[in-house]
Amino acid sequence: MKASLATSAALHALVLTWALVSIGSPESFDVADVEAMPVDIVPIEELTQIQQGDKKAPMAEKSAPVPTKRQDPVENAENSGDNDIDLKTPPTPNDKPQKTETAAAPPKAEQTMPTPEPTPEPAEQVQPSEPASTPATEVAAEAAPKQEVTPEATPEEKPAEEAPAEVAEAEAMPDNVPVPEIRPQPPQPQTAKTPDRKNEEKKQEQKKAASAKESDFNADEVAALLNKTEAKGGGAKRSTETASLGGKKTTGGSKLSMSEMDALRGIIQNNWSIIPGMADATEVRIKVTMQLDPDGNIVGEPSVVATGGSDAARRALAGGARRAILKSAPFDKLPKDKYDAWSEVVVNFDPSEMM
């Protein structure tokens, strides 16, 4: 046994020595240095949106607006240009941009705003002259001849002042005038009234014209007059790249992505409870249309239209869908910058998928 143990030990020593000598350090992997490449996942929607650029410039891979002369950046500027303040109006050429504010042309909706209707005031103001035309009292009768003589002279200007004067005259008169002898002349309403009516109309026209002038008030004109300088338009977004074809403004993806739609669907679905086993429920289709404000609140009442199925099922499911919508509001998880896409939302409910 001792001999074989020695043999074995010798064999092991041999093998280990051989292994240590021949199986040295294995060759290390020589991996060439590879630059890490940043990879962005860009949704196709962003590429298909209109990018800011120049409408007249030739097409390039990346659209860019006309390069601006100034380089100082302005925060949150959207429209390209050399202006200090970001304005929507296009820049006027051949002139140095100056620090003048220019308001954009008022939108059409504002222009067509109905002018304030003529108030019924003129009628009231004219009324004081009316007593003259009507034979109300004996005392007042004396005023009537005056009207006949100069029908167009005074009443236009100060009808309100005339009346008190007459009253004062009437008060003073009674002592001098022999009252019973003079027959009170029957007043001639037709001749007296005609000038009055014309006056009223004229006054109304005048007021209309005044109100129309008021609506034409333009802050720009005032500002321009005050500044004594010509207003300059143009945005404040700087650009250094060569101009290439593109839109006036980058339209940020105005479509909800699938995940956002799923989120909306998930919120509503969680709140939609269906009574299981309802007859005919699977045939009912409900369409809910609702308007949302930028905060995600529902504006007004959502309109619910249910079709198919039995009357009772339709009524029950439509009520349920309406409750689900109201319960899910406000939809504040929707992206604010895509408000255009979800200002009006149409939700189709299909109960067969829930059962």
């Binding site: 046994m1 074989s4 043999t7 074995s8 199986i23 040295g24 294995p26 290390s28």
Partner: protein, 238 residues
């Protein structure tokens, strides 16, 4: 870049791996190498012993069946150190001689005693054949587990080192894991030959024992015939 440089300088040859290992892993490796040495010592020893036993069986059978007188054969063999079949033959003949010298009465009792003597010798011989095979079995079954233990401890310490260095760079992890895996490799290196050798030697020992049992039965039959032949004339004379 610092870590890349570290990886380049890290020595991963076998010796450096062994020296870098922790105390427990080192102990496991040394123990496994000792087990491997012991395994191969047994392999060498058993191979030689079995060859010798087989050779002796062959030569004894040749002599036994050569028609030589059993008395003569006993006389030549009783002086020598015997093993295997010859030992069984010597034991049986000794018992035979003793019984006849004292004048045995019962042939059945004599037969039984001779069988016992041969059985005892057979058991002793087969025990000698199978000696140390148990340790082969132990090394074969426990070796991988011991190696695995070393690996687990090594990986554990290397992970503790990673936690300390606060870097998960592969260059930091690799040497520790490589050194830990070396323990499993050595464990397998010791266990695989041990298992193969154990299976082979168990089968060989079984064959040799069966051959010896066959001889014992045959010799017992011969002796029983002899007993009948020798006792009947005596009984007839009485």
């Amino acid at each position: 870049m610092e870590q890349v440089g570290l990886a380049a300088t890290a020595d991963v040859s076998l010796w450096s791996l062994f020296m870098q290992a922790g105390l427990v892993v080192k102990l496991v490796m040394v123990g496994l190498i000792a087990a491997s040495i012991w395994t191969w010592a047994i392999v060498v020893d058993k191979t030689l012993a079995f060859n010798k036993a087989r050779r002796q069986l062959d030569s004894f059978e040749q002599v036994f069946w050569s028609g030589q007188s059993l008395e003569e054969l006993y006389r030549t063999l009783s002086d020598r150190q015997t093993s295997g079949m010859s030992a069984m033959f010597v034991a049986a003949m000794r018992e035979w001689k003793k019984s006849f010298e004292r004048g045995a009465r019962s042939p059945i009792g004599l037969q039984m005693r001779i069988d016992r003597a041969m059985d005892v010798t057979l058991a002793r011989e087969s025990e000698a054949l199978e000696a140390r095979l148990g340790s082969l079995a132990t090394i074969g079954s426990a070796g991988p587990f011991i190696g695995l233990f070393g690996t687990v401890v090594g990986i554990m310490t290397s992970f503790q080192a990673i936690a300390g260095s606060k870097s998960t760079n592969l260059a930091v992890v690799a040497p520790g894991i490589a050194e830990a895996l070396l323990a499993t490799a050595i464990g397998l290196l010791a266990a695989i030959p041990a298992v193969i050798a154990y299976n082979k030697f168990t089968a060989d020992a079984g064959k040799i024992t069966a051959r010896m049992e066959g001889f014992a039965d045959e010799f017992s039959a011969i002796l029983s015939r002899q007993i009948d032949e020798k006792l009947q004339p005596r009984q007839a004379a009485q």
